[in-house]
Amino acid sequence: MNKLLTKALKAYTLFSLLILVISVPVYVLVVDHIWLSELDENNWLSLEHLKNRIESREYSPAEVAQINEIWGELQPGFSISKINSSHFLADSVYEVQRKNVFDLDDGEDRFRGLRSYFELQGQAYQITIETNVEEADETLLAIAVVTLIFFIMLILGFILINRRIARQTWQPFHRTLQSLRKFDLSQGQALSLEKSNIEEFQELNQSLEDLVTKNIKVYQHQKAFTENASHELQTPIALLKSRLDLLLQEKALSPALSQILSSIEAPLARLSRINKNLLLLAKVENQQYAEMELIKINAYLHSALTLFDDYINDKELTIELKFETELTIQAHSFLVETLIHNLLSNAIRHSVSGAKLEVEISENTLLVKNTGAIALDTKHLFERFSTASTEKVSSGLGLAIIKEIVNKYQWQVGYKFAASKHVFFIHF
């Protein structure tokens, strides 16, 4: 994954590199051109000046020869020489490479020369003048080096500016990201994001706030719906139950009919339980049961096991208790009771007759183990109605309720299958 700014930086860098690379030959051409035309102009000026002076002073041919000799010796590339033709050629520009006699390491130097013609006392002369000019490859090298330096400066600048932008300009974005990470829909608290003076971020924040507000509303509606639906269902369930009780009192019931009637009891009990559990879930989600008190888990376990006595004896289960410490916690007593009842009733229901059921407390962990053949599917274990059980009594909500209660108090619940045992544990 690339950061947005790094990506931009890469693009900028590549583009600047391209432009600068193109700029180097262009600069060389332009500089060379300016240079040469300046030198040509300079040569021309000097030559014109010379011609003018020589003509106006009316030097004799011998004097001209002397000038050529002296000056030609002093000034490299200068010469005035007689020519036989009376046809003057047009002025011509030429370039020559000469050895640098003073610095042999320097190799050859480039000279720009101008050749012209003039007439003095009927004799035609050719005059040349030369000026040293920087070689094109040297210019290229210099410009390339300078460009490289500028390129490096440019990149450093980009990186610095980039960092600044990342630090300052993107700060609101990162804060928004952090708020989103911390956001918990079930808390029901609206998202409040800082105002940003960058239009895009402000727009993003506004959209997020609107989205979250809408979602909270939907979530609350859904919660309210569950709670209301469960409430509404309670009366018909109560009626069904009481009608069934009345029906059973009928004197004229045939055995077959009364058996059908009593077989309604189980699904009715299940319906009632599902409804009760949905209501409980809705209430826990709605942050009810806020009161806290000191709860002794050991004692709660003992009394729950006493309550389940009949069911334990019925299945001839062996209970093995290993309480290493006295575990006390702060929570709502009803919720802890529910948690323990659900854990234990699960273990009892899913045990085969004559099996062993182990309950352990160590430090701040409660473990409930019961024998089992194969591991449960842990992926959806704690989800609502995810149960794969074919039991008629299961509400499919027992573990979901455990999870909800555990979440409420920021405890941890887990399941593992080890040594042919289902192990449910809760870290308080």
Partner: protein, 224 residues
Amino acid sequence: MKILIIEDEEELALDIISYLSSEQYRCEWVADYSAAIAKVTSYQYDCVVLDLMLPGGDGLSILKELKKLNKEDGVIILSAKNSLDDKVKGLKLGADDYLAKPFHQAELAARIESVIRRKQFDSNSLITFKELLIDTQAKSVRINEELLNLTKKEFDLLLFFLGNKNRVLSKSALAEHLSGDFADMFENHDFIYAHIKNLKRKLKKKGSDDYIKTIYGTGYRWEV
């Protein structure tokens, strides 16, 4: 014995009346807050069955009103909310018992009987049924003066039967009576069979008649 049922669900109220009618009870029924207030302020009842969610007002206010008037009526709160808060508040305000909906009619009948017994006979906690003498306070049962040794659950079942004479009690009603709220966590209530078998055996051993009849496929009935 007069019983007032304050319940806005007409059908449920009629079911309760229908179930209780053959007992020695005379039932009256009101469906809203103001009618309930009118009734409880003007008359004396042995037991008031009070639904907390009423049109026109909160059931708990009726309870407060009763206590303000120093009425002796026994009160059983019914609540669809099954909320712990209501239960705690109701019992604190002086209600005698609390029953969450949905409930078995037999359970309500037994609770009404228990409330009336506690109110009426005050310190007298004795119930007699033919050769049986039951002390609810000492939790003891005598047959022809001879002490019967029952477990707590057998004793509870015996009282439950006596509160629902000649009624068919389903296994689930019996299980719910013994295990309370979480009986519906389990599918199998076969343990009831063992308890009743033991109870019958013990009663018979001390020379009591066999009042508990098994209704095939359904449950049990205490036959008089």
